[in-house]
Symmetry: C2
Subunit: 280 residues, 2 copies
């Protein structure tokens, strides 16, 4: 059940393609109903070839409040914005857009914020810590950007796509000149936090993204895959005595950040999880 | 409460500006929930200057099913359609658009259909009857078009805007060459049905749209104003012994016609009225 829609409903356009696997409407809308906020997350399927015309048209709607941007538009959307957060600049992508009172479009990126907020809730302070992010694709870049924003002091990057990893390193360094960056390292030894932002370790028999023998029980280990709670990679980390964060934690932990961004009353990930009409 | 919105929800865009007084979401969405149809009427505010870009963009959304078109776009939308019903052509306006499987946009007009369906439910058969429509504006033209489609044999038209009345008469005659049309008559004597499609008679002290002394108790009298049930005009008709139809009846009577047009399971006006989250 979502709140009654009427002529005064503010729209959050959830823009992506295809739309079938969208989760946000089932998380936000029950919360909006709960706090009696007349707003609605509306799934809107926009094909890549239509984005250039559809995105500006959507933001001309008189009742548009903002948008959640998902695949395949997270990078392309950057060129349509008036203001871009540092995190979105470093990530090289944007997944939330707000229309301000003066009509300016403000973009931010929260894919990595769920990870750092989840760390904090589990007692891991990012500020001053060291982190290794394996995988410099979309989600790896977002997590690296959020870890930098949360003031880690040392950040290791690794990707088989060396150019992507180098580009991420350069963006990080230009926005965080004090940050110690180690390029193309996949040795987790000595890192406080390890993130697997690659597809490896999802399926039984997958090679591990790192040499697990080098993983200390002191390292906090995170995963981005949401389709299953415990991936083979996480299971091995647990077996080695590590504390872990499952992928879906990122999903719910990031919603309060969006709510703040959109200027809505915020809440905790636990409340959102209880209200959501999806379950893992 | 409306049905859970998710990535498989089909959208009916309710397009107009401003959106504040939109009623359709509170009528359709509770019904969609009731029949467990994963569809949603979404209010979308489109200013006149944006229609040309927004309307085609909306119909490029991959999950768009159709649109309800309201003020101020009902006339302008005609130039964006691939196929237009006779009723919409005669009315000179369109308030419903469906995207067919082949991508073609089909437009129809149901503002008058609610009136003729309401007549039928009250035992008045339009076929072969005579009707006087006072007012040749948007709603008057739509009712005249629907009465012609319902095969009235004689139709009287009246408007202080003679050009609008004449243009409506020409459109009617070109599509219904057998129809007997009387131009610029506001004498209700001898008509089976009288419709007030003018703003006159809304407020106490308003001049009546016709000479009420010429109104026979045999004439069925309809009103299009929805803001109040019994207008002074209707009250006078009732005092003269006429059967009447209030404006809001038109609203609920026309919804089944839209449901059929969109290919959804249909129902009765009474069911819709019971389920609706608005009440008059």
């Amino acid at each position: 059940m979502t709140q009654d829609v009427d002529g005064n409903t503010s729209l959050i356009a959830h823009i992506g393609y295809p739309t079938g696997s969208f989760k946000a409407p089932m998380i936000y809308n029950p919360y909006f109903e709960h706090i009696k906020l007349n707003a609605l997350v509306v799934p809107i399927g926009v094909k890549p070839e239509d984005f250039e015309t559809s995105f500006p048209a959507i933001f001309r709607f008189s009742n548009i409040h903002g948008a959640l941007i998902t695949m395949p538009h997270k990078v392309h959307v950057l060129s349509f914005l008036d203001e871009i957060s540092t995190t979105a600049k470093v990530a090289g992508a944007c997944n939330a857009v707000r229309k301000d009172a003066d009509g300016r479009l403000i973009g931010d990126m929260f894919d990595g914020e769920g990870f750092t907020r989840g760390l904090l809730r589990k007692g891991v302070t990012s500020a001053g810590a060291s982190a290794l992010v394996v995988g410099s694709g979309g989600v790896g870049s977002a997590i690296a950007a959020s870890l930098a924003a949360a003031r880690v002091s040392r950040l290791g990057l690794y990707d088989v796509n060396v150019a992507a990893m180098q580009a991420l390193g350069e963006r990080l360094q230009s926005h965080y000149p004090e940050l110690e960056i180690e390029l193309q390292t996949n040795d987790p030894a000595g890192y406080d936090v390890l993130v697997n932002a690659t597809p490896l370790g999802m399926k039984p028999g997958d090679p591990m993204p790192i040499d697990m023998a080098r993983l200390s029980s002191d390292t906090f280990v995170g995963e981005v895959v949401m389709k299953q709670e415990m991936t083979p990679f996480l299971s091995q980390a647990v077996a080695r005595g590590c504390k872990v964060q499952v992928g879906v934690d990122m999903l719910f932990e990031q919603i309060p950040a969006y709510l703040e961004f959109f200027g809505f009353r915020t809440t905790t990930a636990d409340v959102l999880r209880d209200l959501a009409h999806i379950h893992y």
